[in-house]
């Protein structure tokens, strides 16, 4: 995927989505990513609303945040089989 430029509000959105994820997801993401996201989210003034009845992509968060969560999934969560499928899709492109 292309490099994703995250603004401070998106950092906060990504963090608050991660807050609702299970511990395996949370723990698989490297500490330095949390550091960067927390530092940037601290500068955000956005009141992020998480609706517990909605899926991740149905939440009121930016496309940038969805892209970054996808980046985190591809790099730190996806299984080898998932990665094969993703590579196949990118090869199609």
């Amino acid at each position: 995927m292309d490099k994703i430029e995250l603004d401070n509000d998106s950092c906060k959105e990504v963090l608050l989505i991660l807050a609702f994820c299970n511990k395996d997801i949370v723990n698989n993401i490297p500490d330095e990513i949390y550091r960067e996201l927390v530092d940037r989210a601290a500068l955000s003034e956005k009141n992020v609303k998480i609706d517990k009845n909605k899926k991740i992509d149905e939440q009121e968060i930016s496309k940038n945040s969805i892209d970054y969560l996808t980046y985190l999934f591809v790099n730190y969560i996806a299984t080898d089989k998932d990665k094969e499928t993703i590579n196949y899709l990118f090869d199609m492109e």
């Binding site: 995927m1 906060k12 963090l15 608050l16 989505i17 991660l18 807050a19 609702f20 994820c21 299970n22 511990k23 395996d24 997801i25 949370v26 723990n27 993401i29 500490d31 949390y34 550091r35 927390v38 530092d39 989210a41 601290a42 955000s44 003034e45 956005k46 009141n47 992020v48 609303k49 998480i50 609706d51 517990k52 899926k55 991740i56 992509d57 969805i66 892209d67 969560l69 996808t70 985190l72 999934f73 591809v74 969560i77 996806a78 998932d82 499928t85 993703i86 899709l89 199609m92 492109e93």
Partner: protein
Amino acid sequence: MYLDIGYSLEQIKEQQGYDEILNCLTSLAKDEETKEKVTSIINTGKYGDFKFSCPSHNRDNPYLELRRRIGMAYILVRNPEAFDAIVEDKVNLFHGTTGNALFKIIKYGLNSLKASEEAGIEVETGERWSRIEGHPRSFVSFTDIIDVAELYSGKDGEGQDDMSFPVLIGTNEEEAKKCGTLIVHSDVPEVGIKNKLEVDGIKLIGVPSSKVDFVKKAVGNLPIKVVGIDTHDKIYNLGYDGCGRINITDDRFKKKEEPLYDETSLKTMSFKRILERLKDSISSITGRREGLNNGQNRTR
């Protein structure tokens, strides 16, 4: 004015709901030892040499004292690890806020409105409601009654403007004294910590158990204990009109909140987004081809 009010056991026992709440809490205790601890907490207001009430600015009100004790006893039966952490650092001052304010607190500490304005930080905690034009409040509110602090934590976000998750920031008298405290005229016991509480002064962050791993990651190497506190749910409802009750038949009591999203949720979202991006990319290529074809048509 520094008061350290002692309450007699009779004063506590005559409060409305005393018997009911004590029976309920002891029935929730996992063993005889915990039952004894619960009874001692409710009847004495302390655990060993750790007294739950902050001696400064207290008022002679046995009902509020019972609420204070119930809050601690409930944490002991619901989240024993959190109780141990509270006792270890003698945490008896709490500030309720939400997940939206958490990152600023981890980075800048808890700032009063005045301190925030001076530092150019936007306030996201409950302190923002204290904004009076030209007279920003110069203290941060804490209370030694946990369920009062929880009222400010959004009670799980339901029906609140802030739909993230409840957060309790805890500190102790020692840290409060370092900052300086002042009297706050309020309906409930409230201690004003002057100016700001630095990150170093935060001893504990309490969040629902399902958020503990996340908050630990967010806190990183800071020497702050992150503990699961699940007493914010609505089954625990103490009102001014009586001591309320803990509804132990409520499903939410039996089962702690589970994380909302797992690997499959993230995978579904990611694949959907990847396909969306591919579709965009293919349409842009097709669009270019169509444009080329149109161009060729025009030259004919």
